[in-house]
Symmetry: C2
Subunit: 345 residues, 2 copies
């Protein structure tokens, strides 16, 4: 039974609460913090996009096609489908002479509401570039185009079907995930993600270990270690690209820069690499609530492990204790971590 991590307090009572587990691990796999069951496999969903982007850089594809910081940050992103995200994804595909039709992530309206309404106002419809995963998929396409070139194949034909677990691109991506987490994915639970690529059940202990390696490069191949540094730097330079206006990951990295790399996943998952501490973090909220539970826990973890001055505390302020306002703007409650949730520095 996992402990209560987050409570929603309304008026004079706790209205709802979220249970879950937290693993904080160093690059040698030593555990800094355990709360709850960190050995049950959980689907990390989009939280591992940075690990899945390692081959894009390590293969030389990013350099070959001239991907800049914005493009690399977008490859690690669950973005809001804002105009800047869409243009960057389109730009990546243009570099390999392709367009949105090559993407196999499916289409949804931008999660950034104002961008969605902007699209509606223009009587336009969303396409695959608006999908929150379009940057990751554009990265997969670039990787595929380099592999095609090396194989002497026609790029568009080669990349087709890249979301399948057995496609050469996805094999490379899965191998990077397995190498970073040290978990045998061939025998892991397996499902299909929202964007149609495979997602593998991986224990929080191993996810946190993978992020400690992302933070430090220790335990990664030299190529992946260098790619990890490159991706962390890109996201720190272009934090808007990794999420979007007002979003947690963007806000945190706008303030902390390379001191924190954090990444949201669907269904209550959050992962982070904390380079200055040499630690990786992995969180899963049992009920799958990311936005209001996993985020609050991640803010608390960053506060405990990385915060060092008042500016850091201020940056985390309304992420650690989230005021809830109603439709008249009245503060009716707040989200905060459970009083007995202790994360040692």
């Amino acid at each position: 039974m996992n402990p209560v991590l987050v409570q929603l307090r309304r008026g004079t009572a706790v209205e709802s609460f979220h249970r879950g587990a937290i693993a904080i691990v160093d690059a040698d796999g030593n555990v800094h913090t355990v709360l709850g069951d960190i050995d049950r496999p959980v689907y990390p969903r989009s939280a591992v996009k940075a690990l899945q982007a390692l081959p894009l850089v390590a293969s030389g594809a990013a350099e070959h096609f001239g991907l800049d910081d914005a493009a690399l940050a977008l490859a690690c992103a669950s973005h809001g489908g804002e105009p800047g995200h869409v243009a960057t994804a389109a730009g990546v595909l243009a570099k390999v002479g392709l367009d949105a039709r090559v993407l196999e992530c499916g289409t949804h309206w931008p999660s950034h509401e104002a961008s969605s309404r902007l699209l509606a106002r223009e009587a336009a419809e969303p396409n695959a570039l608006h999908n929150n995963c379009s940057g990751k998929h554009s990265g997969f396409v670039c990787l595929g185009c380099l592999m095609a070139r090396e194989a002497g194949s026609e790029p568009e034909a080669f990349v087709r079907g890249y979301v399948s677990a057995t496609h050469p691109v996805m094999r490379e991506v899965t191998a990077a995930l397995q190498a970073a987490t040290g978990y045998d994915l061939a025998h892991a639970p397996q499902g299909v993600d929202g964007c149609s690529i495979p997602t593998f059940g991986i224990p929080l202990r191993h996810l946190a270990h993978g992020f400690a390696r992302l933070a430090t490069g220790l335990g990664l191949s030299p190529g992946h270690a260098e790619a990890a540094r490159r991706l962390r730097r890109a996201v720190a330079k272009e934090p808007f690209m990794v999420a979007g206006t007002g979003r947690f990951d963007t806000r945190v990295m706008q303030h902390f820069g390379e001191r924190v790399f954090c990444k949201v996943g669907a269904e209550g998952v959050y992962c982070a690499a904390l380079p200055e501490r040499g630690l990786g973090v992995a969180i899963k909220v049992d009920d799958g609530n990311t936005a209001r539970a996993a985020e609050v826990v991640m803010a608390r973890v960053i506060g405990a492990l990385v915060q060092r001055d008042d500016a850091d505390a201020a940056a985390l302020g309304d992420l650690v204790r989230v005021p809830l306002k109603n439709w008249n703007g009245i503060e009716v409650g707040q989200l905060e971590t459970a009083a007995d949730l202790l994360i040692a520095h």
Copy 2:
């Protein structure tokens, strides 16, 4: 510790799960089913709108101002802000010579996405009529206008501030909630709801009891018993008004008619009156997830207690076991109640 009620299964593993409690009670307060803690006060939020609408009918205001079935169903609704909902709310206010400016529920974009985009496409902005609670609030305004008439006061001045716990309208509404549930609200936990009226912490046992009374009229005053019948009939005749296109309450009541009155509330609450069984139902999901957890449980409860033929089973089919599709339309998982969740007929 409440039991697991609902699981999300993706691929070969359970990805997330929801704990909570269920009370099913008859009009004498006898318990038919208990799962989990049904004595902890929970905020029922919008699930009790029908109980809060009893004074609108019992006072004679609904008849005096000529409110039809659609208007009464909307008074019990958490609607999607679709054009039909907005027009009906505006029509109710027009009957008392007022308009949207009298509403104190605040404004939000329609939760029905296509209606939201329609509004954006017209370069329009939402107003208080689009708030999911605008029907309930319009009912409060009608009640206030009748009270003003009886007091010889100017209606608009009289109704101002009706969301306050101490306003004569809200006193009447709270008294009806207390009478139906038999729970002392003066000493209950109290918070402010999304639409700015008070919400009171009430144990599921008492909420279910209140809905058994709504189902049967037993234990209510004659005026409230007649009002309960009137409201249940109105919602059965106009199920679109109580929620909207494709929504759970609308779908269930389109099929079951007066055999089921069910009503969603925020933060994982669901209540129902089952007249042919003389039972009331109250559900709270610990983590506050209504749409994918409380709904699935309610579908299962209706299936166990009310379903009698294949047509009933078919109507509940994809509400009891909800397929989850990704952005490419691939079924990647499903929501269903926990295998050991037993609801006796």
